[in-house]
Structures are given as structure tokens and as C-alpha cells.
Amino acid sequence: MSSSRLEILNDGGLRHDARRPYELRSTSFLLSTSSSSSTSSSSSTGLTPPDGSSTVTQGLTSVQVTVFGPREPRQRSLAAHDRATVAVEVGVVPWASSGSGAKRTRGDKRLQEIGAAIRQTFEPVIMTHLYPRSEIAINVQVLSADGGILPTSINATTLALIDAGISLLDYVTSISIGLHLLQPLLDLSQPEEMDLPTLVVASLPSSGKITLAQMETRLHVDRFEEMLTLGTDEEGRR
């Protein structure tokens, strides 16, 4: 058998980066991180600064999200008469995944899926009825990736929306959960994500309602409930 493969969980109960199964990576949350939002006195306000921005770092995964809106929709035909439309765009830097660089940094199918997942997560949470006929544009830029792009992006988007002053029903927090031989693991890094079945859960802490539960691998249904409960409890604590 391959001895050079990474041990997901060793005999001492530690993961490959010396974390316990339920231990999260070190996180940092920063608001208003876009440089043009803190302009100097020399009037460099020619370009519009974003209404809200944030940078969230979980372990080695770092994502910056900027929010523009509510603003005039770029495509009038897509505007809804009674609510705001939410548009999400995701970009990554090519060295973000350690390994071969991604070929497309924007507009990739995989990135469009992530964008769609974020949009579907936030559409029920943003009070869109307060902003009819306008658009809320969310731009996600992944600066470095070590597993958990989607949960980190969702957390960063929540903070950016709050920074922009857009009304939300509640915070949306997100985490990734994997399963290794009956032991659930929280906040997966890249080697773990490639090996284990992964569930990404996003929920509203106060009500416990789930706005996203995404999984692309196979998992036995008996294990599913346990992982889901674990994830929502963990987000409540966060």
C-alpha cells in the first residue's frame, strides 16, 4: 500500500495538520478590506468603491468578497418589479490550488457552480422585497485555497453584505464536514476534501434553518443526519 499517502486520522486521533476531528482552523474575519473604500484625501473617487467588502481566512484558504448594491441593474430585462436580483461572480488566482494551476480563472463551469450555490444560499436570506427593481452584485475573489472554498466564501459574503448595510434575515454561517470511517471531521483542508465524502452546510444560527446542504460524493443515509446535526450545532456556536 502507498506509504506516502497522507494519513487522514492517525492513531493518536490527530489529522494531518495536527488538528482534532472537531477542531476548526484558525480564522480571521476582516471588514471593509477593499483598498478603494479607504481613499486618501486626494480625491481618488473617480471609480466607485464597493458598498461592502470583507476578507475571511480559514487556515490557508483566503477569500475576499465585495458587494455592490442595491444599484441600477446592468441588464434592465432581468430586473424584477417587486424585489432585488442577486448576481454572484467568482474568480480564483491560478496558484490558489497548490498543484497545477487552474486553467480558467473566471467563468469556469466549476466556478459558476460555486457562484450559483452562493446565490441560492443568499436569495432567501436577503430581504430583497425592500429593494425592488435593483441589483445586488456579489464578487468573490479567492486569494488562496486549501480546501473549503465554498464555506469560506459564504462566511465572507455574509460579512460583506453586513458591511454594505443590506438587510438580512440572519447571519449565514457555513462549514464543511467530512466522514472518515464513522468519525465526522469538521472544516476540511484540501487533502481531506479530495479523499473523503464532503458535506457543505450553510445555516442561520438563530433559527437553525438550513439554506444550503451540498454534497457531490456518496454517503450512507444513516451517517447523513449525524453530520447535518453536527454541522448546524457548530455553526450555531460560531
Partner: protein, 297 residues
């Protein structure tokens, strides 16, 4: 030949340059540069390619990614045309100044792939892109390599066992560019990382000489020029001269002009060019000196 009286803000005071080196450990070289409100993140990844010196497969590649937050009012389609335009400027004027990075001379090279992400824009975008590229290459750590091959007796003259002859013929064929007439048995040329001294990486040679871009904005109907324009200044003064200067020696520099672009509807009286070049060279010299003094060691 009229030398204009420039209304320059001194480069040191008007540039709010904060550059951080090595911000992304996953890239071989990276930097983040912020000039005024224009923020650019740059990274270089090295790939091993097979090429020969004259084929040019070792030449670097560059790509500029313009994020929607840099130009929030512009559609995605136009963003990609801005990306292409900026990538082309860098590709024609910055990339050619990069030296080849050989592993096996004339056969294998490290090819640098430069990627820039424009996070926010507030004027002077091309200059900042070039500064960020320069910074990323200044931070670039190239793995030291050693060549592993075996060589037979030099005075063998084809004697020896069959495998020796086979290798000699193969060695002769491979070494056709090396001008060696006699049969020297040689074979199995391969390369490996050289981890003997230090941590096995070294900075790129000639990183102090990489180009910088000075943009001279011309005030319409006036002999005045200025540098480091804000977005409003750029729209008011659409005619600008972009000059790329590189230095060949690290000492008190003799700069070389390695690129020149004129943008704008008005055009330029050709008698002014010499004076503008002199002014541009002065600014470039100061800029190169400043930036070189903060290189990571």
C-alpha cells in the same frame, strides 16, 4: 525642440506604495502592490518545459485578470477585452526583458507564468501592473538544479564495450550543437534539485534590471506634463506617453528604453519627444533606485 516645464509631483511623495513580498506561499514568487487606490496582486509560477534556445518555448507567459470590483459599471464582456489589452502591453514590453531560466541548457527550462489580478482601480493601472510584475519577479525563488549525467573516457575514441559505442553515438547526436568533434561517451542526462547549500533556492539574476513603466500624461494644448494620474485626471487628459525603462547594470544606472506607447486622440508634436524621453528617464531612474532598495534579500 522645446523641453517642457513639467508640473510634476515628486514621485516619492505622491506614490503611496505599499508592496508586500511573498504574500502567497503557494506561488514561486508573489507580491501585492497598492498605488493610491489601485491594488494589484501578482504571482509567478514556474513550469518545466522542453525547448531550445532559439525555439523560444522558455519565454514567459502573462495573464491579467480584471476583477469586476475594479470596474463595477462595466459588463463582463468588456472586462475581458480590458484584460486582453493589459496582457498584451505586458507581453510585448515586459516579458521580453526576462532572461531564460535554464535547467538543462538548450533543452529544459523553467518557464515563468505570470498572473496579475487587478483588485481595484484608481488610475495609473499599467504602471502599477508593471510594478507588481517586477515585485513578483524580485520575490521569485528559483530552485537550484544540477545536471546528472555520466561521461566516459575522453581519449576512448570509440573503444570500449557496445553500450559505450551506443552511448557515444547517442552522445554525438545530442551534442551536435556543442561543437565537439570527437566521440566522448556521454549519456543519461537528467537533472535534479540541488539542495546542498542554503535552502536550495536562489533569486533570479538580473531582477534589479527589470523594466518599470513611466506614464507621462500630457495636458492638452499645453507644454505641461504630469505623472501618476487619478481617474479624473486620466479622463481630462486622454493623451499619454507610456515609456518602459530597464537598467542593465546595478550601479548608477544607464537606463535603456525598452518600450514606448502613445495613447490618445491628439497626437504629439515630434519635436517634443526627445524632451519627454529625458524627463521620463529621470523619473524612471528615481523609481528604479527606490524600488531596488527595498528588494527582499
Amino acid at each position: 525642440m522645446s523641453v517642457p516645464t513639467p508640473s510634476l509631483s515628486p514621485s516619492e511623495t505622491n506614490y503611496i506604495i505599499t508592496s508586500l513580498y511573498g504574500v502567497f506561499p503557494q506561488a514561486n514568487g508573489s507580491a501585492r502592490v497598492n498605488v493610491g487606490g489601485t491594488e494589484v496582486v501578482a504571482g509567478v509560477r514556474l513550469e518545466v518545459v522542453d525547448s531550445s534556445e532559439e525555439e523560444g518555448g522558455w519565454r514567459g507567459k502573462v495573464e491579467v485578470d480584471v476583477t469586476p470590483q475594479a470596474f463595477p459599471t462595466i459588463s463582463t464582456q468588456n472586462l475581458s477585452s480590458i484584460s486582453t489589452h493589459l496582457s498584451a502591453i505586458l507581453s510585448s514590453h515586459f516579458i521580453p526583458s526576462l532572461p531564460p531560466l535554464p535547467i538543462l541548457p538548450n533543452r529544459k527550462y523553467f518557464q515563468p507564468n505570470l498572473h496579475l489580478t487587478l483588485l481595484s482601480s484608481s488610475g495609473s493601472i499599467p504602471s502599477t501592473l508593471v510594478l507588481a510584475s517586477r515585485a513578483a519577479f524580485a520575490d521569485l525563488k528559483i530552485p537550484k538544479t544540477k545536471i546528472i549525467s555520466w561521461t566516459g573516457d575522453a581519449d576512448g575514441e570509440g573503444q570500449g564495450d557496445l553500450s559505450g559505442i551506443k552511448a557515444a553515438i547517442a552522445g554525438g547526436a545530442k551534442g551536435k550543437g556543442k561543437g565537439k568533434g570527437k566521440y566522448v561517451a556521454r549519456g543519461g542526462e537528467d537533472w535534479d534539485l540541488d539542495l546542498e547549500d542554503g535552502n536550495g533556492v536562489e533569486y533570479m539574476k538580473g531582477r534589479e534590471g527589470l523594466p518599470v513603466l513611466v506614464t507621462l500624461n500630457l495636458v492638452p494644448n499645453s507644454p505641461n506634463i504630469f505623472i501618476d494620474a487619478t481617474p479624473q485626471e486620466e479622463s481630462a487628459c486622454p493623451t499619454r506617453l507610456q515609456l518602459f525603462f530597464s537598467s542593465t547594470s546595478p550601479g548608477p544606472t544607464k537606463l535603456k528604453l525598452c518600450g514606448m506607447r502613445l495613447e490618445g486622440p491628439e497626437g504629439l508634436d515630434q519635436g517634443r519627444i526627445k524632451g519627454l524621453l529625458v524627463e521620463g528617464e529621470k523619473v524612471a531612474g528615481e523609481l528604479i533606485k527606490e524600488v531596488n532598495s527595498t528588494l527582499p534579500r
